[in-house]
Amino acid sequence: MAEARPAPTETPTAPTDEPPLSDVLSAYRMMVVARVMDERCLTLQRQGRIGFYVPLQGQEAAQVACGWALNDEDWIFPAYREMGIALARGIPLALLMNQFFGNSGDELKGRQMPNHYGFRRFRFVTASSPVGTQISHAVGAAMAARMRKDPIVTVSFFGDGTTSSNDFHAGLNFAGVFQAPTIFFCQNNQWAISLPREKQTRSATLAEKALAYGFPGVVVDGMDFRAVYRAVAEARARAIAGDGPTLIEAQVYRLGPHSTSDDPRRYRSDAELAEWKEKDPVARLKHELRASEALTEENDQAIWEAAKQEVARAVEAAEKLPAVDPLTLFDDVYATRTPALERQREELARELAGAAGTSP
């Protein structure tokens, strides 16, 4: 009879990589774009120009660093709060903005709420809303990639709350058993809507949940760009070497509301928010770059200005695009429309042509 206890936290092994300084500067630029996008989209939603929005403020460093440490061929399985990753993959702002507007330029054909995008050519899988489901997808894709001998990893993104989901359990267990080349990137932003981290689960850290599945779990300061980069690079190297999966818990904070439908003042204190605002990852990286003299105050202002203009252009372009074609409603349910869908489509076409139609 033996009682298992978590081991005391350990200092990590030496980093496998350090990002070059020029890279860090580009990453900083990207974090600024994410921040500007975020502010702008919150405004667009308030103005009723887009229907909904999920901000990522506080999580920019974690996401961009993670994206930075990955290879373009790696597959991303995001949740709905992953604009930092999207930008790090090189997904153009225009594509994101069109998705937010659900217009005719939206590659998802206006099928989903804002933030639930995905772009196959960027190996960025289309997100859904039910939390956690992407986790086991990433495991399956990793197993498939290994079967095909593709030297890539898959990465799933999810929050602290999502560690309670069925797919967290199933996905991590399968990954352990099959030693899938995958990384579980958990952004612990301390809240799942109104539920604080400590009421989500009683484990001391989320990372230690990996023990239950027989592979390493690491905690990393998610406000620290370089620390996240190292953790991801190391996990990626392990996976590629055939040494299996890693769970990374990036400790961050959701500085904004859960979404534009949420009012965080109902459940958390201003003091807590203020405390975490001190750790703003964008400000922190700026400070580091300034300290190392890689960035001047003028450069920084130029970076912000450029970001604002880029975002403004994307909004303007998106607003000019026409609405999505109504008859696309019936596409992509199946590879080809069934006879019933053809009929329903004709019915709608008739209705739109003037005559009111019965549905199906």
Binding site: G102, S129, I193, L329, S359
Partner: protein, 325 residues
């Protein structure tokens, strides 16, 4: 009587039940301090304490599973699923356990849980905040399925559900949470389960609807009040067990049926009604039955307004049916 919105009526129903019966407890995601994402449980944790209004971890499996355990022990849990679209992780617990506990134990273990969930479209929620999943549950023997369409019914049916002995899936039309308001009786007001409501009497054609769809059905019927045929609107209220008597009486009287729901048509709840008419009222039918429903696609986002049935479509179906025989 007080004038309340539908979501307020739900809130008052819960409050009443908790006040009258210490065994009633609530559990779910964000229902405590936050009062639920739609505020259906607003103020209840403050009033009844965190032991009776429990904020749970993010697991519908766990919410329904623990609620079942509580019910077996004798409590009356009323779990909330934040959106009906997120009920699927609990599907095994609902279909394999909740629905079958009484039966499989030979009656030893009744298992009375009332699962509340907002359902349906009209809030620009896209695929995962808009679904109408009632048919899955109506097809599951052992479950009752209840959907109110007015504030008074929301309170009255909810209280009846909580005081029932069987598991109830109580689906709330979120689209009209605030869009519809009306007089709601005070106190322990109950509307019996298993009884449909004639929302409007008529003699030429019957429209069958439930939840948010009752309102466009009434609109369509009213728009014909002067000139057109006389349209009866039947609000089902309890989908399972169905009030066959009221439903058949209506169609036998009018000889014409239009069925309305938001869910996709194929194998949707409306199929049961149409089939019932073909079985038990065939010789009363003067015209083919018509279903006005969501399309056989997942629920869209940008084109939601084209997906959902509305008064013009119902009107069109009424006219077609009148013309057909």
């Amino acid at each position: 009587m007080t004038e309340l919105t539908l979501v307020q009526a739900v809130n008052r129903g819960l409050q009443q039940a908790m006040h009258d019966d210490g065994d009633v407890i609530l559990l779910g995601e964000d229902i405590g301090l936050n009062g639920g994402v739609f505020r259906a449980t607003d103020g209840l944790q403050k009033e009844f304490g965190a032991e009776r209004v429990i904020d749970t971890p993010l697991s519908e499996t766990g919410i329904v599973g623990t609620a079942i355990g509580m019910a077996l022990y004798g409590l009356k849990p009323v779990p909330e699923i934040q959106f009906q679209d997120f009920i699927y992780p609990a599907f095994d617990q609902i279909v394999s356990e909740l629905a079958k506990f009484r039966y499989r134990s030979g009656g030893q273990y009744p298992c009375h849980v009332v699962i509340r969930a907002p359902y349906g479209g009209g809030v620009k929620g896209g695929l995962y905040h808009s679904q109408s999943a009632e048919a899955y549950f109506a097809h599951t023997a052992g479950l009752k399925v209840v959907i109110p369409s007015t504030p008074a019914d929301a309170k009255g049916l909810l209280l009846s559900s909580i005081h029932d002995e069987d598991p109830v899936l109580f689906f709330e039309p979120k689209r009209i949470y605030r869009a519809v308001s009306g007089e709601v009786p005070e106190g322990d007001y109950r509307v019996p389960l298993g009884e449909a409501r004639i929302a409007r009497e008529g003699s030429d054609l019957s429209v069958f609807a439930y939840g948010a769809m009752v309102h466009p059905a009434l609109q369509a019927a009213e728009s014909l009040a002067e000139s057109g045929p006389s349209v009866e609107v039947v609000d089902l209220r309890t989908l399972a067990p169905l009030d066959e008597k009221t439903v058949l009486a209506s169609v036998e009287k009018t000889g014409r049926a239009v069925i309305v729901h938001e869910a996709p048509r194929f194998c949707g709840y409306g199929a049961e009604l149409g089939s019932l008419f073909a079985e038990k009222a065939l010789f009363s039918l003067k015209a083919p039955v018509v279903r006005v429903t969501g399309f056989d696609t997942p629920f869209p986002y940008a084109l939601e307004h084209l997906y959902l049935p509305n008064a013009p479509r119902i009107l069109h179906a009424i006219r077609e049916t009148m013309a057909a025989g």
